[in-house]
Symmetry: D2
Subunit: 359 residues, 4 copies
């Protein structure tokens, strides 16, 4: 059961010394989390915060940087992470866990704050639950698919960027029978695709949670275009897959286009729609544009609240937990909640709201 | 107690005929609400939707426009309202209520959806509770100060616009001792100021909920600047007021500058900071820029969900209620909840999170 | 020799009746040209302006719309074209030219203003020079590759959109050895790639005017990355091609990736860089996002000036000419200047300015 | 007569050592100039570049920073100036000129590049012409009012920001009789006001070059509104002034509102329009928002070209000159051209193009 974390209350003034790392891919808001954590730590608690460089690599090889209010100045609007990030985890090495333990001990650290996605949070969970290492999580992903939190920071920014792109594509609405296929991020979930699809007024949205039937997609487009002079916008999550039996990629006729899948599912979908409908169809691949650059105001506020609550949670000794958004509140939930899971898009939203529009 | 409104479920397929109006000031997302309501009404329920022009004036003088999927095409990203808006309410006229009743009866309307702010929702509440007129509310304000809903659409857009402006002002951070005062909207509440202040990394945020002491503000700025070469950004909600006894506007010395208040409280604050600290101080007044133009993706999704849920609520016969956001859900709450109220900013957020940063 | 066109001077007040069409692809600023032309025509000259729908199709099939100040209201910031556009030219039909002539005669039109790219301007040139049909051109292309004008509208917008995307990609600069490949428009010229590359701080820019050597590109990236922890951004114009003998696509090893070219040259380049350097390499394909949506302020001013000057030129009887930007002035130049040509990027800019940065 | 400066050609490889300073107010593109100058200096010429902090203060007090490719990394998109800026000039001190001379001599500098506006360029001109100090100028102002160059960097950004704001204000176009008054920068010239007015579709544009008659403005607004349901947008340059005899500020009736001028001429205009027409009229003051933040792509390219050409000009020994844009070329012109001048807006543009729209 989540514990509501007051952001006021009497400060718990035992000074601590903690490490922070950022794991996984870029995500707008990472610096805002670190900055907020550091500011509250330094100004309210008098803590010392050590930044580990390049995720777990910094912990294993003791590559660190001191973090303070001054060094974090100006980072609030910046994308990326001042700490860097890299693949890999302590479990890749025989003595990885012991190295983490000894790094914390030798550096006099009371614990470690891990800002990361499903992978990093799973590692954090294992380190705490199996090896009793004091770790606190901060959930991070533009995909919004972490179990245990209503929203993750970075998601709002990614949706806004995708929506801005879709807005620009609508201009062609006066043209005849043009189809624009926008591939957005979302390997395991359709959150970005669904929200950007609603916000951008897309015609079709294809998500990993619901394998698509390319014939049905084409029929919908043909039916719509038969009613007038339209362009259609198809939003495809990178993890969208054809329903079984609907698109035989070993069929040479499709294979010819299917190689386009090296350009991603968006290219495959664009090629197939063009081939089957005869409509002029063009792909757009936003790629990393969605995960870079300055966070939206929304993501900055959420990141800031996460950062503040993370250092509060450290002072509460909430190891093995992660901060999370629940309604309007920031709470803590066990890392076990998130570990090894992926949260599918709200299908009520997708079906009930979205399908009226994606037609 | 709020009733969670499923966005799926079995459609309630009794066809209705309802009117819609938009009251109060512009707010990004108004067209998105109408568009969503109309799309679900037409496509799922087969309803007829009549738009009343210029708020209550359209009801009283039967100035209407038919709304349908086709006529609403392209309006999702547009600011403003296709229905227009105007001051005034049925209660301004002796027979106003009876005119509303007879308009509904003569036009064969089952009820009226009122998309509006505190004022319009209060009128809607009275019409329903005192005069038994079937009215449903959709809360609307960029100020986010309506009781009964976690968020209102338009707010996210306003905060983003203010934050973008603050971002640009930070550039002068390399300059010496410059203070920039940004007046943002919020006559009764500091929601926009607080969120934009957090997201923009402001130094001081002044809100209606907490009368300000100009001396304390100046001391904070002087203290900060004494530590290095900074610019400071002061965010002032238009409804911010000096604490009693802190700024005697009848004092001729202040009066000289105080006339600047004709330019708004932001100008007064800028003039006083400049006079008292000697720092070069400049005002920025964003004004209506905050309430116009295309809504953010977030506001489009929220507006769309409100519009869909509003027509669902109509089919549920939820007259006297308004749709609202509660956590991740769209619910309905009695109009009485919102009527005549203003929701102050979350002071936990302001104090607990914000004060660490506004320093 | 260009004739400087005064935008003031005594209005030439013989009223005319002219048709307008927009040919070729979307381009931000098309509506701004039409709006300006119509406003000056109606308000200063008292002209009548007839819009032909869907380019030459509207002329051939007499599908028209009356254009006036009122009907053009609100179109200044809108992308696309209110007139629509479509492929095809009068020369596709045996009697096409005669149909154009008779449409103009039957509708009492004094001439035709053709807003279009290289293709449309060539058609316009032929109609005038070979068939004596009174046509005036307005050059239009986001690619900026029309001979005879310093700049075309739409180009500034396309460069800004590409630059915004590149800015967001820079965020990953803290990451190790990541390469992001952005394919931008420019089938025949590298204007967009070069300007966006300079403005975005790209590492490598590949343009049609200079076939690329993938080995040299990879060496440059490896050398740069060997100096520190960098990300690199490679901008590729869609018309960029490998230098002869540098990338044998029939080589099965390359072919395996080469199929990625179905996703465009950007995908090919990304695949090859990844394969040859081992750096994590990801493509971005902005596609039609670059040619849709609201024009920048710069493009709106240029479009407006083109529109105003076009109707002035009509009153001057400058048939067979097109309006053009020359330094700070709007002039007219013969359509023959532009017809059948493509203007390569300024190689002084590319070499002299750009190469210092693309390294 | 301007000398066209080739950006290619044989590099002039005598290594130099020069100082750089930025004078006057913030201007988007300053860092891009410095970065380009430094990159070409270091990579092509092998020069050493010394940055003086806080304009002339850094020269007088020898506060410097070494500038190189590495230290300038990441600054291309940043507003402000990494060198800082401050008021004051060597001529404020008896021995100021001699201090400049001895700083250059003692630090072994071959000369000084001054990036600045009318004030800084005038100082630079005097230092060179009267005191034979080797100085090269780079013109800088968001106001675009420097004589000798077709355009200055920063202007495009300022116009874009003002246009974005105006776009958002148009939303209220469905509302009745609302007037929005936007005050933009331009103390001596109406460049920003005119371009933003054209790009934003303003109704009235008031500029310093043409004193305004408030009665004529109000009549135009009333006439326009009498034709339908409009909002109007009035753009006012901060340096706009009432024509003699048109607005007697000593008149107590006007004085009552006139005090609003403490909020700038925009407030005065808004107050008077509201008073005289009865239309709901609201001011917007963009202030420093226009001069901060990231430069547009256009300004980044122009700044980069200026920076590259400045170091080329240094190697040409073009002391006493400044770089400038002439048509599509970067040239050098004598500092005397710019010194003590202000370039008024192109009245051909204002009258010939703009007046058709501002109505």
């Amino acid at each position: 059961m989540p514990c509501v974390r007051s952001t006021t209350g009497v400060p718990r003034l035992i000074t601590v010394r903690v490490g922070v790392l950022t794991g996984g891919g870029d995500c707008p808001g990472l610096n805002a989390v670190i900055r907020a954590l550091v500011r509250k730590a330094e100004r309210v608690y008098g803590d010392e915060i050590v930044g580990f460089l390049d995720a777990w690599d910094g912990v294993l090889n003791r590559r660190t940087v001191a973090l303070n209010v001054e060094s974090m100045r100006g980072t609030l609007p910046r994308g990326g992470t001042v700490l860097g990030t890299r693949r890999g985890s302590p479990f890749d090495y025989d003595d990885g866990v012991e190295q983490v333990r000894s790094t914390l001990a030798d550096m006099g650290l009371d614990g470690l704050v891990v800002i990361g996605g499903n992978g990093s949070l799973s590692v954090a969970h294992l380190l705490h639950s199996e090896h009793d290492i004091p770790v606190l999580g901060v959930p991070k992903t533009i995909d919004n698919d972490i179990v245990g939190t209503d929203l993750t920071f970075g998601f709002n920014t990614a949706v806004q960027i995708a929506t801005d792109a879709i807005d620009r594509l609508h201009t062609t609405a006066e043209s005849h029978d043009r189809v624009l296929v926008v591939e957005v991020m979302g390997r395991h979930s359709g959150w970005i695709a669904t929200h950007a699809g609603i916000a951008g007024g897309a015609t079709v949205v294809l998500i990993p949670e619901r394998p698509f039937d390319i014939d049905a997609v084409c029929q919908r487009l043909v039916r719509r275009h038969s009613r007038g002079r339209y362009a259609s916008i198809v939003v495809v999550a990178e993890g969208a897959v054809p329903a079984e039996g609907t698109l035989d990629i070993s069929d040479p006729e499709i294979d010819r286009y299917g190689h386009a899948r090296l350009g991603g599912v968006g290219h495959l979908v664009a090629a197939e729609i063009g081939r089957r409908t005869g409509f002029e169809t063009r792909p757009v691949l936003l790629g990393h544009v969605q995960r870079g650059g300055t966070p939206t105001a929304f993501d900055r506020v959420l990141s800031t609240r996460f950062g503040v609550s993370a250092i509060d949670a450290v002072h509460d000794g909430a190891w093995g937990q992660m901060v999370a958004l629940s309604g309007a509140d920031i709470v803590t939930v066990p890392l076990a909640t998130a570990a090894g899971q992926s949260r599918p898009v709200d299908m009520d939203l997708f079906h009930g709201v979205a399908e009226i529009f994606f037609a």
